[in-house]
Amino acid sequence: MRVKSAKPEIVEGDLTPMIDMTFQLIAFFMVLINFSQTEANERVQLPSSELARPPEGEIESPIIIHVASDGTAIIGTEEFSVDTLRPILSRELSVLKADGKTAEDANIIIRAHKDAATGKAQEIISVCQEVGFENFLLRAKEQL
């Protein structure tokens, strides 16, 4: 009897703590994943600044212009140079006007790469100015 009962025993580890931990990890990642930004662009590495604070409230009618390190402007997924930027900005402006807004209501968010030439960013800003936009937000990442 003794010998027999010892033989067929299956050794089972206690899985409860592992499952607890795994669920906690899943919950953690699930909560954090919502914060991922859709407006980022992989070609842009923002400069950092200690004063860059996340905006309070929502930015009104934002138009995001990414500036890659070579000075290419990217709106959405399309690439533009300084010379070809004007038509799309005019298009954005007419969309705004159809919504009953003016160029002054819009905010141009400039997300320029930290190694991009300042002159390129300035040229892009002046094209926007010529179209009629006047509010610009220079984006930087928060330095901790």
């Binding site: 899943i26 930004q37 200690e50 860059a52 991009a116 030439a117 928060e142």
Partner: protein, 162 residues
Amino acid sequence: MKIRNKTEGVKNELQMTSMIDIVFLLLVFFIMTFKIVEQEGDFNIKMPLAKENQNSQSDPLDIVLKVRMESDANGGLQRMRLNERELGTDFSMLRAAVIEMVNAGGGPVEGEDGPEVEIDADYNLRYEYTIEAISMVTGEKRGKETIKLVDKIKFAPTRRPN
């Protein structure tokens, strides 16, 4: 013997294998898609085209602080000047100079009436230096608090390379 064996063997165990499979798949998915997102912030710049010309010509009453930034061939910062004052490449000196000038003008003023800073950078200067200069003139962070210095910032006309 036989009866005893039967009663002993009835042990209702939950099938864990499939659940753990799924749970691990979920975990791997979330870990793979996880990206540490850095907080981002903005510097506000209000720069209408027409007013810009007016300001530079017909409004001498505004205290305009001009930050001139010169770059070397690779876009590095060579030297800075605040109005006529040489600052080298030291951003903390820029901040000290701005604090001095803002205090001389009666402390920081919020809104439209405050002093204005004009950033005049070389074409090739790397953008990170420009942002650094802008953050130096807009304010100072002391511990958790942020002290505002200059609210209005504008860019000088672009210096195109010849």
